[in-house]
Amino acid sequence: MREISSGTIQEAVYRAISRMSYHCDSKVTLALSEALNTETNELARDALQSILQNHKLSPETSIPLCQDTGSTVVFAEIGAHFHLTGQSLPELINAAVRRAQKDCPLRASTVADPLFERNNRGDNTPAIIHIEYVEGDKIRLLIAQKGGGAENMSFMKMLSPALGAEGIIDFVCEGVLAAGSRPCPPLILGIGIGSNFEGAPLLAKKALFEPFGRAHPDLRYRQMESEITKRINTLGCGVQGFGGSCTVLATHILQAPCHIASLPVAVNLQCHAHRHSEVII
C-alpha cells in the first residue's frame, strides 16, 4: 500500500486550477494559429488574432483567460494500492477549489440552489467529482475548469440503434450548428457513444480530456471524428459566429458497451478557452 497525504494532493489540485485559469493548452494555441493561416473570413481572422493575443496576455497580466473561470470537474482514478491519509478526496478537492477562488482570484459562479433564490456560494464549491477505482498504486486526476456557455449548449439523446454512424454524425452536426455562437466557437467536441442515460454524458465529458487532436485508435471512430469536424466546418457558424471555416478545432469520441435496445449519444461542447489538465501522483 502506498500512502500519500491529502495535503500533497490538495496542493497539486490547487496548482492545476490556478495554472490552467491563465494558460491555455499549447496544442490548442497551435491549432488556433494554424486556423488563422487558412481562415479567409475577415471578422473570423480578427477574432482569432484576439484569442491568440489573449493566450499571450493572460499569463503576463495575471487576468484569467475568460471571466467565466468555470466550475471545477474532476475525474479521479484511484489505484487499488493507493492510500490517502488525512482529508477525504472530496474534502481536499473542495479545499483546493476554495483556495484557488480566493487566491487567483477566480469568479464565484456556483449558486447553492438551482431554482430558488440562487444564492451564490461565493467559493465555487462543490466541485463535481467522479471517482473510479483502478489497478496500481497511483492516483490520476483529470481536472477541468468548465465554463457555463458551452455547457449550456451541450446535448444528449437516446438514438435508435438503426440510425448507425451516419445518424450520429447528422445528430451531432445539427446540434452543434443549432448552438450557433453561444458556446463560444471554435469548439472542441467531446462525444460519448454507448453506455446508458447517465453514462453517455460522462463519456462525452471525459472525451474532452483526451490529448487535444488525438486520433481515435479505432479507424471507424476516427473517420467519424474527422467527418464531424469537416462537415461542421463546411456548414458552420465559424469563430464566434462570424462565419468562415473554423467552428470546430477537434472532435474526440469515447465509446462504451450498451443495451441491445439503445444507442445513447451525448455531446459535450468545449469553448476555445480549453482548461483541462492531468495530475498523476
Partner: protein
C-alpha cells in the same frame, strides 16, 4: 469591415451610421447586468421606480466580471450569452435603452425590437478577458453587491473592441 471609434452616449444619427459587422472601439460609461440584475431592473420599472442610471445615455453590458486581484483595476472581463436576456430586452428598450453589449445571436423577435427601437446590439468576443481588460479604465460595484459576479458594475471603457451585431 470598417472600424469606428465611438463614445457613449450615442445619438440616433451615430447609431444609424453603423452597419452589421463593423468593428467598433467603444468608450464611455457602461453598466453590467446579467439574468438576476435584469429581473430586478424590470421589477423596479414595473413598480414605477426610476433606475439609478439613465438607460438612454449608457450601455448595458451582459457581463459578470471575475474579482480584481490586489492592485488591479479589474479582473477578467467578457460577455455572457445575450439570448438569456431576450425576455427582458423589450421592457428596457421601452425605458430608453439604446446600446447592449454581449455575445451570440438574439431571438428573431428581439432582433426586430432592437431594430424598431433604433437601438444597437454590439458583440464582444468571448474568452478573451485579458485582452478586453486592457480597455477598462475603472470598474466598481454599483448595485446589489450581494449578487457577487451578478451584481451591477459601473465600468468606464476606453476603446473597448466589439462588432456591430444588430442595428
Amino acid at each position: 469591415m470598417k472600424d469606428f471609434r465611438i463614445s457613449l452616449p450615442l445619438s440616433s444619427a451615430e447609431i444609424s451610421y453603423l452597419h452589421p459587422n463593423d468593428k467598433v472601439l467603444l468608450s464611455g460609461t457602461v453598466y453590467t447586468a446579467r439574468d438576476e440584475a435584469h429581473k430586478r431592473m424590470i421589477a423596479m420599472l414595473k413598480e414605477g421606480v426610476q433606475l439609478p442610471f439613465e438607460l438612454s445615455e449608457t450601455a448595458i453590458f451582459y457581463c459578470g466580471p471575475s474579482p480584481a486581484a490586489a492592485g488591479m483595476i479589474c479582473g477578467a472581463i467578457g460577455p455572457t450569452t445575450s439570448s438569456r436576456m431576450d425576455p427582458f430586452t423589450p421592457e428596457l428598450l421601452k425605458a430608453g435603452l439604446r446600446v447592449m453589449i454581449g455575445k451570440g445571436e438574439r431571438s428573431p423577435e428581439t432582433e426586430q425590437e432592437i431594430k424598431a427601437a433604433g437601438a444597437l446590439y454590439l458583440i464582444a468576443i468571448g474568452g478573451i478577458s485579458a485582452v478586453l481588460s486592457q480597455s477598462i479604465v475603472s470598474c466598481e460595484t454599483f448595485l446589489w453587491e450581494s449578487l457577487g459576479a451578478e451584481a451591477v458594475f459601473k465600468m468606464e471603457l476606453k476603446d473597448f473592441p466589439c462588432y456591430v451585431g444588430i442595428v
